[in-house]
């Protein structure tokens, strides 16, 4: 039982990280109708910026307070993501207004390659580390309930707390502010939004910035766990099945989808894996997504597509 719970917990943590990347997809898709293939590249770019500046700032200024350095580096990375968002709107989206979804998708594919390349050109291409002071040692809880207790990773708990704070902030932003309302309005109808004086261009910059900030948080957490390297941009591939499961337009869906995928792949690896010779963690998410597409193509919480004929 203790082992099952440990596996479950590990799965939840992995799932939460998938969810973070998936939320980035959902936010941008909701507000601009663009399926942003570059979300993974944005995670990499943000993490690289953060890691390198955390390294450079002490060298330039002689600061040695790690907290301050990390904060400064995070601010620089956040600013970089806002600049990226602004450039994306200026150079790409603005010229593709009212184009087919597939055109926009291809454009984000281009952005994704560009960001991958630019990130490595500017910041180098080896493995860097992000150290935001997350504790590396595990802890053992509930020793009196289970023999030997449960082995939990403190780092994962911290990461979960960060993700939770982010989600709360995002929902406050979307539900309670007029900008959030404007974002939801633009997502529903561009023309009507313009007629009541909502400036589309600015909204797109905002939503891509928010997508970039979510990417930064995901990048910090992944980076501090696994190190910052090119392969980080591939976590986005794991977010595809998550958004299929949760629905492309639902933030709660992205969270729940992420958790289901995370838990599903860990548990299946342990309990089904041995029957088929193991190694199913890598493809389990995609099979699950495929099954979902057959049964419920709009995902758990997605908008149901009803066409009048």
């Amino acid at each position: 039982m203790g082992f099952f719970l440990e596996t479950l917990f590990g799965g939840l943590m992995a799932g939460m990280l998938y969810a973070l990347v998936a939320i980035g997809f959902v936010l941008i898709f909701k507000a601009s109708g663009v399926f942003n293939f570059a979300q993974g590249a944005m995670v990499l770019f943000a993490a690289l910026t953060m890691a390198r500046f955390a390294e450079w700032i002490p060298r330039w200024t002689g600061l040695d307070n790690m907290l301050l350095v990390n904060l400064l580096a995070a601010c620089v990375a956040a600013a970089a993501m806002v600049v990226v968002a602004w450039l994306v709107e200026r150079l790409v989206l603005r010229h593709l207004v009212n184009q087919e979804g597939i055109t926009l998708l291809m454009a984000t594919l281009g952005i994704s390659y560009f960001l991958d390349g630019a990130g490595q050109l500017l910041f180098g291409s080896s493995t860097y580390k992000i150290d935001v002071g997350m504790p590396k040692d595990p802890m053992i809880v509930l020793e009196n309930v289970f023999p030997g207790g449960l082995l939990l990773s403190k780092e994962d708990l911290y990461a979960a707390a960060m993700a939770a704070v982010l989600v709360v902030l995002l929902s406050l932003f979307f539900q309670k502010t007029k900008t959030g309302r404007a974002l939801r309005a633009v997502a529903d109808d561009h023309q009507a939004a313009q007629s009541i004086g909502i400036p589309l261009a600015r909204i797109w910059v905002i939503v891509w910035s928010v997508g970039g900030l979510v990417a930064l948080v995901a990048g910090i957490i992944w980076g501090s766990k696994l190190g910052v390297q090119y392969s980080i941009s591939l976590v986005a591939l794991k977010a595809f099945p998550v958004v299929i499961l949760g629905g492309l337009t639902s933030v709660p869906g992205a969270i729940l989808g992420g958790l289901i995928i995370g838990v599903g792949e860990k548990l299946s690896e342990i309990y089904i894996g041995p029957m088929v010779g193991g190694g199913i963690e890598n493809w389990f998410a995609y099979v699950l997504a495929l099954a979902f597409l057959l049964v419920r193509p709009q995902g758990l919480f997605g908008d149901k597509i009803i066409d009048r004929v």
Binding site: K178, D188, D189, A192, S195, I196, G197, P199
Partner: protein, 264 residues
Amino acid sequence: MNGMSNRKTGEVILDVQNISLSFGGVKALTDISFDVREHEVRAIIGPNGAGKSSMLNCINGVYQPQQGQITFRGQHFRHMNSRQVAEMGVARTFQNLALFKGMSVLDNIMTGRNLKMKSGLLAQALRWGPAAREEIAQREFVERIIDFLEIQLHRKTPVGRLPYGLQKRVDLGRALAMEPQVLLLDEPMAGMNVEEKQDMSRFILDVNDEFGTTIVLIEHDMGVVMDISDRVVVLDYGKKIGDGTPDEVRNNEDVIRAYLGTEH
């Protein structure tokens, strides 16, 4: 009820001068001029494809006409975007509903207050002092609109679930929330049954009476147009063929020809 002679119309508030608009080789509007006086109900009518919606879109800043200019309260403009027009006090509704379907009635109408809200992002998210007061004040205004349009029961319903006639009312509500000086209505009664049309006519006249809002509307139902408008512009193939009171327009030979397609 014809003519609404008891209502006072004021100065010219919106003046459209020699507007021409074409899309590639297709001429949508040719040399159109007319004016709209303060507090009046001004209708634009014409057969399908006459250029009515194009005209509205020019006034609204969605299209930029190639020639001519539009004067709003003494300010000329030719190259205005939708936001600038909205800031000047022009609101509109849409022929094919363009509501924010996933959002509640309340939120839809609140979006109309967007330009009026000034507090910062952070203050709003945290519902901090002044921001909270502002939100409440705006909310009160919106509640008044909801009462006025008699949609209290549907306040929290996602707009996509409402019947068509009510969605049209929400569309009107969102435009009213902007406290416009001029309200552009693109076929506010399209697709409605007789009862819904009567309700909508009543709302339009009430808005005009109570708030003094100037109204420019496009409508196909001749009965309604003749009943509620003070003056009517008639377009056909992008040209103006008639302009005047409902009675004058009704007896205009060109108008009769355009509508009935007969030679006199």
